[in-house]
Each structure stands twice: as C-alpha cells, then as structure tokens.
C-alpha cells in the first residue's frame, strides 16, 4: 500500500483556542479511514483544513508523499481531494448530469460538452457501480441517489481522496448497504476515503483504521481488526464509558394516551399511517422502532396535534376522545414535545435562550403581570439561569441567541422547557440525532427520570440502539402500519429487526 495523504502535526488556532492541536492523520490508497470524535472534537476543523477552507496555524500536508499547500478549495480539487458534505450542495431544479458537470472546467470551449461529459460520467458509474438517473431532476431523486450524485461530482473532478461527512445520517438501512458497496468498490480501485460517523457499528464494519480525536488532539490511531466498539467509545470520551442500562417498567397499566385505528393518508406508504393502534401507559416509555420514513413523521404529527387523522380515535389523558387537533389543545391537555427538527420546530433561533425557555409560559402569573400584559424580565432571566444550571446548558449568557448554541445544548434548552411543565405525555422524536455521547446520555437520563416521575413517554427514533436502551415496550412501524408489540425487557432483537424489514 502506498500513502495517499499525510497530515503532520496540524494545529489550528482561533484566537487563543486550539480547534486542532498536533493532529496527525494518514490515509493509504485503498483504505477507509474513520475520523471519530464527539461534537467539537475537531473533526470538521481538520477536514476544513484539508479542503482548503482554513489554513493551518502549524503543520504540513503531504499528498502522494509530496508536501502541498492547500491555499483554497480549488487547490484541494486540483490535488485530488473531494468532500461529500452532510448537507448536499445540489441544485434541485437541475438534472443529475447537469449537477455533476456544473462548474467543471475540463473543456476549453465556452459551450457545454454534455455528450462528452455524459460518456465520462457513465464510465465512472460503470466502474464503481454508482446508479444515478442522469436525466432526473435532483429534487425528485431519493436521498440515496442525491448522495450518489454528490459522490459522482467529486469523482468526476478526479478525486483520489474522498471525505464523506456523516454520509449515513440521512440514509435508510438499505441505502447504507448500497453506500458501503460503493465505498468498497472505490477502495478496490485504490481510492482513499476519510469517513466521518458517530455510529460505532458502521465504523466497525466499514473502516480499516480509526483515528480518534478528543478536544482537538489525536488520541490514537487503531486498526479496526485490533479493537472493539467498547474500546473506541472509551478512547472517544476519555473515561470509562459504561452503557447505562435502565430499569425497565413492566407493570404500567393506567392508559394515558390511546390511538385506535388511526389512519392518515394511508395510500402513502412512506408518509402515511394505516390503522395504527397503540396505547401509552402512565409511567412507561413506549418506543417506536422502524426504519426512517415508515410513518414516524405523521405519527409524531398526530400525537402532537399538528394534523388531524383521517379516521380513527385518539383518547387523551382524561379518558375522553380528542376532538380538536391543534398543538394548543394538546399542550393544554399536558403534552410535552421534543420535536424532530430542533432548529425548525423546537426553537426560535433568533430569540434568546431565556426567551426560548419561557416560550409557552409568557402569560403565566410567574412571568408576567395581568396575563401577559407586562413581562417580568427579571423573573424570566433568573428562571432561565436556574434551568441553565440544572440542565448544564453551556453558554456564556442566557441572553445569547439559541441559534448560537451547539446542537446538544439546543436540545437541552428544549428538554428543560418541555419537562419543566411536568407533562402527562412526552413525545420525543429522534431526541438525540446528531448529538455527542455526553449530551445523549444526559437526554436519556432526563427522559427516564420523567418516566419514573409518572409521565407517559412516546419515543420515536430511527436509532434502534436508542429504542432498545430506553423502551419499556416496543412497537415496530413499517410502511405506516404497526407490525407488532414487544417487551422492552429482554427484547427479541431478531424478531424486531425482521419486523422492521416488513417480515
């Protein structure tokens, strides 16, 4: 094997803060090299140095053994480095081919050379088994195919080294398999891949070596063959990491929230619900397992009052059928909601942390005089300070905008707000998506504590590990239907995974 890339003692300083300090990374030809680390460990900074967005404060970069200075993203492309971003940089209204050849400067002619380019693209597609419908508009493609377009863009520009930034975060399990096949065929041809992921199981499956970063520094580079998931987790967070297994509740009987034969656009397989019946008991976590896009979003929308089901009954905490489907009515009835997309649905990013914490309570006597006629700013501030303390929200001030927080701290703000109201029903949708282990632990602990305090919890998550870890009972959602209900204590994992695949 020959060396493709070596980054030697890279440091990147912002003010007095080192985002990277003496980081060393090398990638061989034909290797998948994973970069592992919590949020803020310095992965993004290192990759931004590599693709020329940042200039390193110190350190050297070698490509094919020769020292290079990557002064701009264009130089990175010339050096054969290509990045597939987590959030795709594609133009929805253009076709796959147009997106791929967009901005490429291989021809001297000012006219488009679509035919020649199409041939070149098809050749690459054949070689690596990348299936793309070149004439379909990107906006109409599946997420998996959009990602393949991104990969193709990079390959078309002659990349030898591909950086894949959390590529599996947006994919279904089946699509992940497809991606792994492509990665394997790329490495078989001698390409090198830097793979960034949080998902330990995937890391173990696809990588050759793993470099662990912690607080901007390299902890260690290990061969996957010589390590275990547990060891990697230890390296990553720096202390002995004990998988917290919670006590499972098996004797909850008081029905808090019931769905009876609820349907919502049942004709849509991946965006509807068909005759869904489920019961959430007081003091119990009901986990909804399933591959992303099998009805999780409409289910969450029904149980939070955002949409009215086409048919079926929803029975609320007081035992009466719910007639009005609106978030207001559900909140009044005791709903706490950790929504799917914290930036879009959970927080008002441009408002302060304090304002977000009191979002639903500005009319209460605690925070205002005369039901909202005069806000008690001092009271709001000290309340926010208290919640910040209790929930370990890391910020310089509760008067900074919610947008300026990291994802984990944003989620803590939402959690603090929702739980402070002591909800009867807590709906948590993908509550730890994209968060590091520390924040994930905190949020899991809070959810379980809420259950122990007598709250009924509905957990909807595409992260199977999370569902297994937290749920007292598990239902499986597939194509908008409930496939079965399983005990959360000693769950029959094999059976559940079959149900998730629709068997």
């Amino acid at each position: 094997m020959t060396e493709l890339l070596r980054m030697e003692n890279i440091s990147k300083r912002f003010g007095s803060f080192y985002a990277n300090k003496n980081v060393t990374l090398d990638v061989q030809e034909g290797e998948v090299h994973t970069l592992l680390g919590e949020n803020g460990a310095g992965k993004s900074t290192l990759m931004n140095v590599l693709i020329g967005l940042y200039q390193p404060t110190e350190g050297k970069i070698f490509m094919h053994g020769k020292e290079v200075s990557i002064s701009s993203p264009r130089v990175a492309v010339e050096q054969g480095i290509g990045m597939v971003h987590q959030h795709f940089m594609l133009i929805d209204d253009m076709t796959g081919l147009e997106n791929i050849i967009l901005g490429d400067k291989r021809h001297s002619s000012p006219l488009l050379q679509e035919d020649a380019d199409r041939k070149a693209v098809e050749e690459i597609m054949d070689r690596y088994g990348l299936e793309i419908d070149l004439d379909e508009k990107v906006g109409e493609m599946s997420i998996g195919m959009q990602q393949r377009v991104e990969i193709m863009k990079v390959l078309f520009r002659g990349a030898d080294l591909l950086i894949l930034d959390e590529p599996t975060a947006v994919l279904t399990d089946l699509e992940v398999e497809g991606l792994f096949d492509i990665m394997r065929s790329l490495t078989a041809e001698g390409k090198g891949i830097v793979f960034i992921s949080h998902k330990m199981r995937e890391v173990m499956r696809i990588s050759d070596r793993v470099t662990v970063l912690r607080r901007g520094e390299t902890v260690e580079t290990v061969r996957v063959a010589d390590t275990t998931e547990q060891e990697l987790a230890d390296l990553m967070i720096g202390q002995k990491f004990v998988e917290n297994t919670y006590k499972k509740v098996t004797d909850a009987t008081k029905e808090e929230f019931v769905l009876k034969d609820v349907s919502f656009h049942p004709e849509i397989k991946h965006g509807g619900l068909k005759d869904v019946s489920l019961t959430i008991h007081k003091g119990e976590i009901l986990g909804v397992a399933g591959i992303d896009g099998n009805g999780q979003t409409p289910l969450a929308e029904v149980v939070t009052g955002l949409v009215k089901p086409d048919s079926g009954k929803v029975i609320g905490p007081d035992g009466a059928e719910i007639a009005i489907f609106s978030p207001e009515a559900f909140i009044d009835a005791g709903l706490g909601n950790i929504p799917e997309d914290r930036n879009k649905m959970g927080l008002v990013g441009d408002m302060t942390i304090a304002e977000n914490l009191v979002l639903k309570q500005t009319e209460s006597d605690q925070f205002s005089l005369g039901h909202g006629k005069w806000l008690k700013m001092g009271e709001i501030h000290s309340y926010a300070e208290r919640l910040r303390e209790e929930n370990d929200i890391r910020c310089t001030s509760v008067d900074q905008t919610a947008r300026s927080l990291s994802g984990g701290n944003q989620q803590k703000v939402i959690l603090a707000r929702e739980l402070e109201g002591h909800p009867k029903l807590l709906v948590a949708v993908y509550p730890t998506r994209g968060l590091d282990i520390g924040a994930t632990e905190f949020i899991h602990n809070q959810i379980v504590a809420q259950r122990d305090a007598g709250c009924a919890v509905l957990l909807i998550s595409a992260d199977f590990d999370e569902v297994l870890k937290l749920s007292d009972r598990i239902v499986v959602l597939f194509e908008g239907q409930i496939m079965g209900t399983y005990s959360g204590a000693n769950p029959p994992i094999k059976e559940i995974s079959l149900a998730m695949a629709g068997k």
Binding site: S326, K344, V348, M351, S368
Partner: protein, 363 residues
Amino acid sequence: MAKKALSPEERSEKRMMILTPIVAVLLALIIGAIIIACLGKNPFEGYAAMIQGSLGDGAKLSKTLERACPLIFTGLCAAFAYKCGVFNLGGEGQFIMGGCATATCVLGLGLEGPAGLALGLLAGIVAGAIWGLLPGIMKITRGLNEMITTIMLNYVAMYFMEYIFKNVYSDNGLPKTVAIPQSARLPEVLGTHVGVILAIVLGIFTWYVIFRTSFGFKIRAVGMNPIASKVNGFPVRRLVLLAFVLSGAIAGLGGAVELLGKTPYRLADGFGSGFGFDGVAIALIAQLNPIAAIFVAFFFGVLSTGGTMMQSVIGVPTAIVEIIRGLIIIFAVAGMAAVKLPKIKAYVAARLDARAKKAEVNA
C-alpha cells in the same frame, strides 16, 4: 429588574447595531457635501441652512415635527408588521384609506367639534385596519404574497382617494376636498398639532407591546420562526392576521391625523404620497425598533424641511436631499448586513480585545 449580563461579543454587536445607522448618516452627508461642492456651492453653508431651516426656531421646529409625524406612523406600521414576519408594503394605501375614511366621516356626515374629531380618528383607524386585513386574508387563505398585494392595494387606495376629492367632496369642482371645519381639527400645543404627541406616545406604546407583553413576544416568535411557534401552540394564523390589521390601523390613524392636523386639512393629489415607502426605510434604519423609528422619522423630517431652506439659500435643488436620503438607506441596510459578516465581526472583536488590554496596561 435584573441587569442583563451580556457577553462582550453581544455588547459589541449591540454597539455596532447602534453605530451603523449613525455612520450611514455621516457617510451620506459627506457624499452629499461632495456633490454640493461639485455643483460649486459651499456644503457647510448648505448644511447650516438645512439645520437653520428645520430646527432654527420654534416655528421651524414645529414644521419639522409636523413633517415627521406621518412618517412616524408609517414607520411604526412597517416595523410592527416586519416584527411578525409580515412584509407590509401597503403603509401608503392604509394611510390614504385612513384619510379617506376620516374625510367621509367628518365631511360626509357633517360632523363638527370634538365628536367629529374623535369619530374621524376612529374611522381612520378602522379603515386602515380593513385595508391591512384584506392582504392578510389573501395571504392566510390563498397564500398570496403580501408584498405584491399590498403594493397593488396602494394604487387602489390612491385612485379611490382621487375619486373622493374629485367627485364626492370636491371643493367647488377643484381637485381637492373642502377643508375640515376648524372645530374638528386637532388642537395645537406649542405651535404643533397634538398628533405629533400622539405619534410619539404610540411609538413608545408599540415598543412596550412588542418587547414587554406576551402578545408582542408571540408576534416576534412568529416573525422569526412560524413553524416552531405553531408546534409550541401559538395561534400563528391569527397572530399574522392581527399583525396585518394592527399595522394597517397604525397607518390609518396616521392618515387621519395628517388630515385633521396639518394644513391644508384637505385631501388632494399627493396626500400621503411616498410616506409608505419612507416608512419602510425608516423601519429598516431603525432596525425595527419603534422608539428608534421616532428618531429616524424626525431626522427625515429635518432633511425635508431643511432641504427647502438649503435650496433657497445656496441654490442647490432639493433633489440633493433625496440623494442623501437614498444614500442613508443604502448605507444603513448594507452596513447592517456587513456587520453580520464573520470577518468584520472578528475584526471588531479583535479591536475590542486590544482596547481592553490597553486599558489594563494603563490601569
């Protein structure tokens, strides 16, 4: 009230937000001076005349205040709507409809005295609110873009007013209405009609509503993130509609005040013309802060009354003032966008750091 502990970055950001419009004004005045100099006149003399002509004595000051008064209303109208994410460009139409309703109420019903005054103001508010409600309904039910509908409604209002002053309450067939009777006009205090005080009080009240009430809190939340507002149980559609109605009502009241307070006390061609868009500019320069909008509107008043004086003293066209005003808008908006750029932020932060260190050394 507890004192807010702001981080240094936020303090510097706040300072930048206050500094930007001031710098924009200075830059615009400097460029204005260069243009005046290019015309072969003395800019210092010109600006002196401008200040003399707008603030020189009590009478001039009250003229400036009366000139600023409608702009305060339209500025507040825009600021309030934008806070709720509603891009109401119809301040002018709502202002004009307010004036029309007031005229109809006072002239049509033949009301005089305080009753005429009170009902006239009320009619202005209601008409403005309705003129704001229409695009609101169109947006909420059919999803029509309010930027387009409100501009269209400005034209409807303008031609409607023309119909009123030409055909309905025309003064002996002249293209203007008969004047509002003396007894129904706004009383004067210290040489200025009380509408100015009303405008200032309304500005402070609007600030209070937006920043110190639960209603204003929700309006701001909806303006910044309607989806999160909905998920968190706010009646988003109702709030948006209310923002349309209330901002229209503010402009409508402005139209009523203008008609009842300012000579010639009649509707005629040009009534309210340009006030809507000046209001938009004022709201943007004031960064949607209602109290700041009062000051910006006053400054616009200074420019326009002072501009006339400048013209007569040094003999440059009043178009210079229009240019200065345009430049202020461009610099202020561009400046506000610029201070949000990361590089400029970093530069300012570095400067502040250096200054803090210097202070430490000196101490």
